[in-house]
């Protein structure tokens, strides 16, 4: 069952920590956002395999925007 991972805060994508095909555990960072001088990881809500990364480094994402999809 695919699950969308959403950004919990508005920020700029600082780092992509996982790529499609990677398996992640619950709590693993998928991307790292930079907002107001802080690095804020967006974590996998559960274990799974990364199906899709929908953002690029340097891109601004809004709170609630889908950044990746798990399957």
């Amino acid at each position: 069952m695919p699950e969308e991972i959403k950004a919990h805060i508005t920020g700029v994508v600082f780092q992509i920590a996982a790529k499609p095909g990677d398996s992640v555990a619950a709590g693993d960072p998928v991307i790292v956002l930079e907002s107001m001088k802080m690095e804020i990881p967006v974590e996998a809500p559960r274990a799974g395999s990364v199906k899709e990364i929908r953002v690029k480094e340097g891109q601004t994402v809004q709170e609630g925007e889908t950044i990746a999809v798990l399957e």
């Binding site: 508005t10 920020g11 700029v12 930079e34 907002s35 107001m36 001088k37 802080m38 340097g58 601004t60």
Partner: protein, 448 residues
């Protein structure tokens, strides 16, 4: 005195420097990014120059663009404010090469104090106590392990290339060392361009007390007393005050004279701050030196009655400091609260947005330094500081009461803020008694 000053910064500190320039009748130039078009700091200067797009790397951190703006705008001097390029010795050097006066210390002093292990060696040589730990950057993990066992656990791994809490890892047991070494090294590399680390013994719940220093180009170095800055979140200060409460006269004198001695030993010029950790016995240890104006300089101004920014400009122009150490006295007490755009319901993560309403307090003993106004956009690209609230009183009790009332009168809509948190700090028994330490916020002492 020079005639025109470019301020390589934004927000409240750019406005603060422009105000000092006006006191001296100097012409001012602002720089701004595309995200800051029309921001308050750009309207207060005599001229404003767009230096690049929103990301700081391409605007406020772009040395070439800022130096070009200064030369083309006819500036004689550059004031870096705090943050951004203020502690970048290459920027100071680029200014000097372009024939500009850098309002701050020499590139050599910035470089020496920016190298955290060199700063420790220099201060130890000057007789300033340092936190026990390594004096040289660590090599590989094997060497780190050996040094760690000598110093003992718990310990803290720190970045040699810079401070501010970045690339820091607390290690409580030998088994955690390898993981912490890798993580801290990676963060240090990303932030400072070098993965070099050093070790310090971890002090349990120390206080953070710092000393304001000032040197001129005629061999005078003085201190402007101390500030207590223990209330911190994620190593960022939130509440500061001067004088530091509950410090014995022995510790106070020891700290201030050690700091002045250390600054004199390196021939320090302009404003700087030496930070110390103070343990529960009143012993103190040099932590690092900030070679710039601090965010919290205002509390020192309130208790000493001196204008630090005006004096920075005069010293940069080659004038001698007009103060003798014995003339610098403090009067009453002053407290600063930093109001940040942070969401308390999300673990105090930054809260960007547009400010719909902004009511700020005013009155006797109340000073506000704000970078924003109604309608300002609080962008994801910069520090979340909205404004600083500073309260002064004839006694600490009076300053605390004034601060509590001032916090109550603040209204900010459009972004979430830490105002309620600050209110709880100021109302707390521990703060009222002056019993503070650096771990309190993380330990939840001021939770709702």
């Amino acid at each position: 005195m020079f005639r025109t000053v470019l301020v390589a910064n934004r927000g409240e500190i750019a406005r603060r420097v422009f105000r000092a320039c006006r006191v001296l009748g100097l012409r001012t130039i602002a720089v701004y990014s595309e995200a800051d078009a029309g921001a308050p700091h750009t309207r207060e200067a005599d001229a404003a120059v767009l230096v690049g797009p929103a990301p700081a790397r391409e605007s406020y951190l772009a040395i070439d663009r800022i130096v070009t703006a200064a030369r083309e705008g006819g500036a004689d001097a550059v004031h870096p404010g705090y943050g951004f390029l203020s502690e970048n010795w290459r920027f100071a050097e680029a200014c000097l090469r372009a024939g500009l006066i850098f309002v701050g210390p020499t590139p050599a002093a910035i470089r020496a104090m920016g190298d955290k292990t060199e700063a420790r060696r220099l201060m130890q040589a000057a007789g300033v106590p340092i936190v026990p730990g390594s004096l040289e950057p660590l090599g590989d993990l094997a060497e780190t392990d050996r040094v760690a066992r000598e110093i003992g656990f718990p310990l803290i791994l720190k970045a040699a290339g810079g401070g501010g809490g970045i690339g820091m890892a607390r290690v409580t047991a030998p088994a955690e060392l390898a993981g912490a070494f890798t993580t801290a090294g990676r963060r240090a590399q990303a932030a400072f361009g070098t993965a070099a680390l050093y070790i310090e013994r971890y002090l349990e719940c120390p206080r953070h007390v710092e000393v304001q220093l000032f040197g001129d180009h005629h061999g005078t170095v003085v201190h402007l007393h101390e500030r207590e800055c223990s209330i911190q979140r994620r190593h960022q200060k939130v509440v500061e005050e001067s004088p530091a409460p509950r410090l014995t006269e022995t510790t106070r004198r020891g700290l201030t004279s050690a700091a002045a001695r250390g600054a004199a030993a390196i021939g320090y010029t302009n404003a700087g701050t030496m930070e110390f950790l103070v343990d529960d016995r009143g012993d103190f240890y040099f932590l690092e030196m900030n070679t710039r104006l601090q965010v919290e300089h205002a509390v020192t101004e309130e208790v000493t009655g001196l204008d630090l920014v005006v004096e920075q400009l005069r010293v940069a122009a080659g004038e001698a400091l007009p103060w003798r150490q014995e003339d610098i006295a403090t009067r009453g007490a002053s407290i600063e609260c930093r109001v940040y755009a942070e969401d308390p319901d999300k673990g105090f993560l930054p809260s960007p947005g547009t400010i719909g309403r902004l009511d700020l307090p005013a009155g006797d003993g109340v000073r506000v330094e704000s970078g924003v106004e109604t309608g300002s956009t609080v962008s994801v690209h910069y520090d979340p500081l909205l404004f600083k609230l500073i309260a002064h009183g004839g006694s600490r009790e009076e300053a605390v009461v004034r601060m509590a009332a001032s916090l109550d009168r603040c209204r900010v809509e459009g972004v979430k803020t830490n105002l309620a948190f600050l209110g709880r700090v100021v109302a707390s028994e521990a703060f009222r008694r002056g019993e503070v330490h650096t771990q309190m916020v993380e330990q939840g002492a001021f939770n709702a």
